[in-house]
Amino acid sequence: MDRVKIGTCWLDGCSGCHMSLLDIDEGIVAVLRKADIVFGPLVDAQEWPEGVDVAVIEGAVSSQADLALAQTARARSRIVVALGDCAVTGNVPSMRNGIPVRSLLERVYVEGASAQPGVPTDGVPALLKHAQPLHESIKVDVHVPGCPPKPNAILLVLSELLEGRTPDPGSKLRFG
């Protein structure tokens, strides 16, 4: 049997969902018996590879770089999992959405700066108007809410996907 390829990525979030993923403890051993993690903050690959089976995406879609990575991951993966409240609802990153981007950046990088005031433009991707849940940009197959989702819920989702089943974490999960 071919080994399952898992890619993970971290858009506009705090990495807490990846911490929760690591927090499945020895469960990670069972996952890695059947799967390889081929992309993500935990591995060295620079580009989302072709032929990924499961894309696990943390974070809201907040910048042009987030959008591009989400679209690439979607195009090159069979199943997309929205991991955690930022990917599922927009969560904390979406709290900026009531503020126009320009005013937001000026408030932080000009009014709020104690040295070198100025909105950074070089080497940083432009912000989108809103930080949006992942499903507003790409098709999402499995939603795993939680801030972060409980490790046992993440393990359940991964185990079910590795067995070729559609996971139903049921009432284990809630927003927040």
Binding site: D85, S94, Q132, P145, G176
Partner: protein, 235 residues
């Protein structure tokens, strides 16, 4: 006065008193019907649409909290269609304002969050409106976060009907509707507010909270309002 009637709730025959609502009869017989705007001890307004039920012979759904029972009434409280509608109602509540559960004082004790979990709401199918809404921190003891308000009006009724102060009202129309204290004065300047906190205890979400609590720390005394009403009625 107390005419007895027989009704069927999910097929089971139940003795009730004319004038009781479907929701009251159902809850008294341990049949759970979800609701957010209903609170025992307050008048019912049928605002949240979560308690919609099917009544045989009636072509459309009716809110259980405002529909009185009558002899021979047969009610279905749960069906795939009702569950689907309740899920829609919950998702629309989330889409309308900024309910960021992860940073809410009421997370873990919130009726909206719990109902979403119970109804299998794993994401919201509708685009979020992300409105920019104020937070009123002018009151020395309490805070009102409009981002988390679902306009259930339990605070309005608790203040008007139990405390008798009527500080709160809902102003505006549609998505522009807002909870207002005393003709749109900041809460802290509302002279008729007695600072009793019944509105805070009645609030199902983290929209109203006591100051000084962190995320997940604000638990509410859900039975306060109901108990005060039953004491007043001497039951």
């Amino acid at each position: 006065m107390t005419e007895k009637v027989k009704v069927r709730i999910d097929g089971e025959v139940i003795a009730a008193t004319a004038g009781q609502t479907i929701l009251e009869v159902a809850r008294a017989s341990n049949t759970y019907i979800p609701a957010l705007c209903y609170m025992e001890g307050l008048s019912a307004v049928g605002a949240c649409r979560l308690c919609m039920v099917e009544i045989s012979g009636v072509g459309r759904l009716q809110p259980a909290c405002t529909t009185p029972v009558q002899e021979g009434l047969a009610v279905v409280t749960s069906s795939p269609q009702l569950q689907a509608y309740r899920k829609i109602a919950l998702e629309l509540l989330f889409a309308e304002r900024n309910h960021i559960c992860a940073v809410c004082v009421s997370s873990g004790h919130c009726e909206l969050q719990t109902l979403a979990q119970d109804h299998g709401v794993k994401y919201v199918r509708y685009p979020y409106s992300f409105p920019r809404l104020p937070i009123d921190v002018s009151h020395p003891r309490y805070v009102l976060d409009h981002n988390r308000c679902i306009l259930c009006s339990r605070c309005v009724r608790a203040c008007a009907e139990i405390e008798g102060a009527h500080v709160w009202d809902v102003a505006g129309r549609g998505t522009q509707s807002m909870l207002v204290s005393e003709m749109k004065r900041p809460w802290g300047e509302a002279t008729s507010c007695t600072s009793c906190g019944k509105c805070v205890q009645a609030c199902p979400t983290g929209a109203m909270a006591e100051k000084g609590w962190g995320v997940e720390e604000m638990t509410k005394h859900r039975t306060t309002v109901s108990r005060l009403t039953s004491m007043r009625e001497g039951s």
